[in-house]
Protein backbone atom coordinates (compact mmCIF):
# COMPACT_ATOMS: atom_id res chain seq x y z
CA UNK A 1 0.00 0.00 0.00
CA UNK A 2 0.94 3.64 -0.15
CA UNK A 3 0.55 6.28 2.56
CA UNK A 4 0.17 9.95 1.62
CA UNK A 5 2.41 12.64 3.09
CA UNK A 6 0.86 16.08 3.01
CA UNK A 7 3.85 17.87 1.52
CA UNK A 8 5.65 18.28 -1.80
CA UNK A 9 9.03 16.63 -2.31
CA UNK A 10 10.52 20.07 -3.11
CA UNK A 11 8.91 23.53 -2.82
CA UNK A 12 7.04 24.69 -5.94
CA UNK A 13 6.78 28.42 -6.56
CA UNK A 14 5.65 30.28 -9.65
CA UNK A 15 6.17 34.00 -10.33
CA UNK A 16 3.07 34.84 -12.37
CA UNK A 17 -0.04 33.34 -13.96
CA UNK A 18 1.35 31.83 -17.18
CA UNK A 19 -0.87 29.28 -18.99
CA UNK A 20 1.64 28.99 -21.86
CA UNK A 21 4.21 27.46 -19.50
CA UNK A 22 1.48 25.25 -18.02
CA UNK A 23 0.81 23.90 -21.52
CA UNK A 24 4.49 22.97 -21.96
CA UNK A 25 4.51 21.28 -18.54
CA UNK A 26 1.69 18.96 -19.62
CA UNK A 27 4.40 17.08 -21.55
CA UNK A 28 5.75 15.92 -18.17
CA UNK A 29 2.25 15.28 -16.77
CA UNK A 30 0.59 13.09 -19.41
CA UNK A 31 3.31 12.81 -22.07
CA UNK A 32 5.28 9.79 -23.30
CA UNK A 33 8.33 10.49 -21.11
CA UNK A 34 6.42 12.18 -18.31
CA UNK A 35 6.11 11.41 -14.63
CA UNK A 36 2.88 9.40 -14.90
CA UNK A 37 4.45 7.12 -17.52
CA UNK A 38 7.54 6.74 -15.32
CA UNK A 39 5.61 5.81 -12.16
CA UNK A 40 3.39 3.31 -13.96
CA UNK A 41 6.33 1.78 -15.86
CA UNK A 42 8.53 1.08 -12.82
CA UNK A 43 5.81 -0.01 -10.41
CA UNK A 44 4.49 -2.47 -13.00
CA UNK A 45 7.90 -3.92 -13.98
CA UNK A 46 8.87 -4.72 -10.38
CA UNK A 47 6.74 -7.89 -10.08
CA UNK A 48 8.91 -9.81 -12.56
CA UNK A 49 12.33 -8.15 -12.11
CA UNK A 50 15.02 -10.08 -10.15
CA UNK A 51 14.66 -9.62 -6.36
CA UNK A 52 17.81 -7.47 -6.12
CA UNK A 53 16.18 -4.67 -8.13
CA UNK A 54 12.61 -4.70 -6.72
CA UNK A 55 13.47 -2.20 -3.98
CA UNK A 56 14.93 0.27 -6.48
CA UNK A 57 11.92 0.07 -8.83
CA UNK A 58 9.53 0.47 -5.87
CA UNK A 59 11.33 3.51 -4.46
CA UNK A 60 11.96 5.28 -7.78
CA UNK A 61 8.37 4.50 -8.91
CA UNK A 62 7.07 6.02 -5.69
CA UNK A 63 9.26 9.12 -6.12
CA UNK A 64 7.80 9.59 -9.62
CA UNK A 65 4.37 10.09 -8.04
CA UNK A 66 5.90 12.83 -5.86
CA UNK A 67 7.26 14.41 -9.08
CA UNK A 68 3.83 14.09 -10.70
CA UNK A 69 2.35 16.01 -7.76
CA UNK A 70 4.99 18.75 -8.21
CA UNK A 71 4.15 19.07 -11.93
CA UNK A 72 0.42 19.15 -11.12
CA UNK A 73 1.09 21.90 -8.56
CA UNK A 74 3.04 23.91 -11.15
CA UNK A 75 0.26 23.58 -13.76
CA UNK A 76 -2.40 24.40 -11.16
CA UNK A 77 -0.59 27.49 -9.89
CA UNK A 78 0.22 28.74 -13.41
CA UNK A 79 -3.42 28.49 -14.57
CA UNK A 80 -5.65 29.00 -11.51
CA UNK A 81 -6.13 32.75 -12.10
CA UNK A 82 -6.21 32.62 -15.90
CA UNK A 83 -9.20 34.01 -17.77
CA UNK A 84 -10.75 32.08 -20.71
CA UNK A 85 -9.12 34.67 -22.98
CA UNK A 86 -5.66 34.05 -21.46
CA UNK A 87 -6.15 30.30 -21.87
CA UNK A 88 -7.13 30.83 -25.51
CA UNK A 89 -4.07 33.03 -26.12
CA UNK A 90 -1.92 30.21 -24.67
CA UNK A 91 -3.41 27.67 -27.07
CA UNK A 92 -5.46 26.03 -24.33
CA UNK A 93 -8.95 26.81 -25.71
CA UNK A 94 -9.37 23.15 -26.75
CA UNK A 95 -8.39 22.06 -23.24
CA UNK A 96 -10.74 24.62 -21.67
CA UNK A 97 -13.84 23.60 -23.63
CA UNK A 98 -13.43 20.01 -22.50
CA UNK A 99 -11.98 20.37 -18.99
CA UNK A 100 -12.48 23.98 -17.81
CA UNK A 101 -9.42 24.57 -15.62
CA UNK A 102 -9.20 20.92 -14.50
CA UNK A 103 -5.92 19.10 -15.02
CA UNK A 104 -5.90 16.20 -17.46
CA UNK A 105 -3.34 13.60 -18.55
CA UNK A 106 -2.52 15.14 -21.92
CA UNK A 107 0.84 15.93 -23.46
CA UNK A 108 1.79 19.49 -24.49
CA UNK A 109 0.06 18.99 -27.85
CA UNK A 110 -3.19 17.85 -26.18
CA UNK A 111 -2.80 14.14 -26.97
CA UNK A 112 -4.23 12.02 -24.12
CA UNK A 113 -2.05 9.59 -22.17
CA UNK A 114 -1.87 6.01 -23.40
CA UNK A 115 -0.40 2.83 -21.88
CA UNK A 116 1.46 2.32 -25.18
CA UNK A 117 3.99 4.89 -23.88
CA UNK A 118 5.39 2.26 -21.52
CA UNK A 119 6.77 -1.25 -21.88
CA UNK A 120 7.18 -4.38 -19.78
CA UNK A 121 9.25 -6.99 -21.58
CA UNK A 122 9.86 -9.34 -18.66
CA UNK A 123 13.54 -9.39 -19.60
CA UNK A 124 15.45 -7.51 -16.87
CA UNK A 125 18.08 -6.02 -19.19
CA UNK A 126 15.48 -4.92 -21.74
CA UNK A 127 13.32 -3.39 -19.00
CA UNK A 128 16.18 -1.59 -17.24
CA UNK A 129 17.57 -0.20 -20.51
CA UNK A 130 14.10 1.14 -21.24
CA UNK A 131 14.09 2.74 -17.78
CA UNK A 132 17.49 4.38 -18.34
CA UNK A 133 16.30 5.72 -21.72
CA UNK A 134 13.09 7.03 -20.09
CA UNK A 135 15.08 8.95 -17.47
CA UNK A 136 17.38 10.46 -20.09
CA UNK A 137 14.41 11.49 -22.25
CA UNK A 138 12.69 13.07 -19.23
CA UNK A 139 15.93 14.90 -18.35
CA UNK A 140 16.15 16.28 -21.90
CA UNK A 141 12.48 17.33 -21.80
CA UNK A 142 13.04 19.24 -18.55
CA UNK A 143 15.94 21.05 -20.20
CA UNK A 144 13.84 22.02 -23.23
CA UNK A 145 11.08 23.32 -20.92
CA UNK A 146 13.60 25.33 -18.86
CA UNK A 147 14.92 26.79 -22.15
CA UNK A 148 11.38 27.97 -23.00
CA UNK A 149 10.66 29.34 -19.52
CA UNK A 150 11.35 32.86 -18.24
CA UNK A 151 10.00 32.16 -14.73
CA UNK A 152 12.93 31.92 -12.27
CA UNK A 153 10.78 30.47 -9.46
CA UNK A 154 9.36 27.77 -11.70
CA UNK A 155 12.81 26.99 -13.11
CA UNK A 156 14.13 26.29 -9.61
CA UNK A 157 11.62 23.43 -9.24
CA UNK A 158 12.27 22.23 -12.79
CA UNK A 159 16.03 22.11 -12.20
CA UNK A 160 15.45 19.95 -9.12
CA UNK A 161 13.36 17.53 -11.21
CA UNK A 162 15.96 17.51 -14.01
CA UNK A 163 18.68 16.52 -11.51
CA UNK A 164 16.51 13.69 -10.13
CA UNK A 165 16.32 12.16 -13.63
CA UNK A 166 20.13 12.01 -13.66
CA UNK A 167 20.24 10.24 -10.27
CA UNK A 168 17.58 7.75 -11.33
CA UNK A 169 19.41 7.02 -14.57
CA UNK A 170 22.63 6.36 -12.63
CA UNK A 171 20.88 4.04 -10.16
CA UNK A 172 19.31 2.08 -13.02
CA UNK A 173 22.76 1.73 -14.61
CA UNK A 174 24.01 0.25 -11.32
CA UNK A 175 21.04 -2.14 -11.36
CA UNK A 176 22.06 -3.32 -14.85
CA UNK A 177 25.56 -3.93 -13.49
CA UNK A 178 24.19 -5.93 -10.53
CA UNK A 179 22.18 -8.15 -12.88
CA UNK A 180 24.98 -8.68 -15.41
CA UNK A 181 27.41 -9.51 -12.57
CA UNK A 182 24.92 -12.13 -11.35
CA UNK A 183 24.47 -13.57 -14.83
CA UNK A 184 28.24 -13.82 -15.36
CA UNK A 185 28.76 -15.46 -11.98
CA UNK A 186 26.20 -18.16 -12.76
CA UNK A 187 28.21 -19.19 -15.86
CA UNK A 188 31.51 -19.84 -14.02
CA UNK A 189 30.86 -23.23 -12.44
Amino acid sequence: MWAYEKKLMYPVKVSTCNPTLAKYLMEQYGGADGELAAALRYLNQRYTIPDKVIGLLTDIGTEEFAHLEMIATMIYKLTKDATPQQLRDAGLAEHYVSHDSALFYNNAAGVPFTATYIQAKGDPIADLYEDIAAEEKARATYQWIIDQSDDPDLNDGLRFLREREIIHSQRFREAVQMITDDQNQQKIF
Binding site: A3, K6, K7, L8, E69, T73
Partner: protein
Protein backbone atom coordinates in the same frame (compact mmCIF):
# COMPACT_ATOMS: atom_id res chain seq x y z
CA UNK B 1 -11.58 25.89 -4.78
CA UNK B 2 -8.38 26.55 -2.92
CA UNK B 3 -8.51 28.09 0.48
CA UNK B 4 -5.06 29.71 0.28
CA UNK B 5 -5.07 30.60 3.96
CA UNK B 6 -2.28 32.91 4.95
CA UNK B 7 0.26 30.88 6.86
CA UNK B 8 3.02 32.13 9.16
CA UNK B 9 6.56 32.11 7.80
CA UNK B 10 7.48 29.43 10.35
CA UNK B 11 5.22 27.07 8.39
CA UNK B 12 7.36 27.47 5.29
CA UNK B 13 10.67 27.45 7.19
CA UNK B 14 9.88 24.24 9.06
CA UNK B 15 8.40 22.58 5.98
CA UNK B 16 11.51 23.38 3.93
CA UNK B 17 13.71 21.95 6.64
CA UNK B 18 11.67 18.72 6.53
CA UNK B 19 11.89 18.66 2.73
CA UNK B 20 15.68 19.03 2.92
CA UNK B 21 16.10 16.26 5.49
CA UNK B 22 13.71 13.94 3.63
CA UNK B 23 15.73 14.56 0.48
CA UNK B 24 18.80 13.15 2.27
CA UNK B 25 16.71 10.18 3.43
CA UNK B 26 15.47 9.54 -0.12
CA UNK B 27 18.96 9.79 -1.60
CA UNK B 28 20.28 7.29 0.95
CA UNK B 29 17.36 4.92 0.25
CA UNK B 30 18.09 4.84 -3.49
CA UNK B 31 21.82 4.50 -2.87
CA UNK B 32 21.28 1.63 -0.43
CA UNK B 33 18.97 -0.12 -2.92
CA UNK B 34 22.02 -0.66 -5.13
CA UNK B 35 24.66 -0.78 -2.30
CA UNK B 36 22.87 -2.88 0.36
CA UNK B 37 26.04 -3.74 2.30
CA UNK B 38 27.33 -0.23 2.97
CA UNK B 39 27.01 -0.10 6.75
CA UNK B 40 28.17 3.52 6.94
CA UNK B 41 25.31 4.55 4.65
CA UNK B 42 22.85 2.53 6.78
CA UNK B 43 24.09 4.42 9.82
CA UNK B 44 23.59 7.76 8.03
CA UNK B 45 20.14 6.63 6.93
CA UNK B 46 19.11 5.86 10.53
CA UNK B 47 20.44 9.19 11.73
CA UNK B 48 18.50 11.21 9.13
CA UNK B 49 15.35 9.07 9.36
CA UNK B 50 15.24 9.77 13.09
CA UNK B 51 15.90 13.49 12.56
CA UNK B 52 13.09 13.64 9.97
CA UNK B 53 10.66 12.02 12.39
CA UNK B 54 11.59 14.52 15.08
CA UNK B 55 11.07 17.52 12.76
CA UNK B 56 7.72 16.15 11.57
CA UNK B 57 6.46 15.69 15.13
CA UNK B 58 7.35 19.34 15.88
CA UNK B 59 5.67 20.55 12.69
CA UNK B 60 2.52 18.51 13.24
CA UNK B 61 2.04 19.90 16.77
CA UNK B 62 1.88 23.42 15.28
CA UNK B 63 0.32 23.00 11.85
CA UNK B 64 -1.62 19.73 11.82
CA UNK B 65 -0.91 16.29 10.41
CA UNK B 66 1.68 15.70 7.70
CA UNK B 67 1.78 11.92 7.72
CA UNK B 68 -1.26 9.71 7.13
CA UNK B 69 -2.35 7.57 10.07
CA UNK B 70 -0.39 9.26 12.85
CA UNK B 71 -2.00 10.33 16.15
CA UNK B 72 -3.30 13.93 16.11
CA UNK B 73 -3.07 16.60 18.78
CA UNK B 74 -6.16 18.68 17.96
CA UNK B 75 -9.24 16.71 19.04
CA UNK B 76 -11.74 19.48 18.21
CA UNK B 77 -10.97 19.73 14.50
CA UNK B 78 -10.00 17.08 11.90
CA UNK B 79 -7.07 19.06 10.54
CA UNK B 80 -6.09 16.43 7.96
CA UNK B 81 -8.94 17.63 5.73
CA UNK B 82 -9.39 21.21 6.96
CA UNK B 83 -5.80 22.43 6.71
CA UNK B 84 -4.50 23.35 3.22
CA UNK B 85 -3.08 20.83 0.75
CA UNK B 86 0.43 21.02 -0.73
CA UNK B 87 -0.65 22.76 -3.95
CA UNK B 88 -2.61 25.39 -1.99
CA UNK B 89 0.26 26.80 0.05
Amino acid sequence: MALMKSLPKEYYQQLEEIQAVDFVVYELVLYLDTHPNDSQAIQQYNQYAQYSKQLKTQFEALFGPLQFGTAVKNKQEWEWSTQPWPWQV
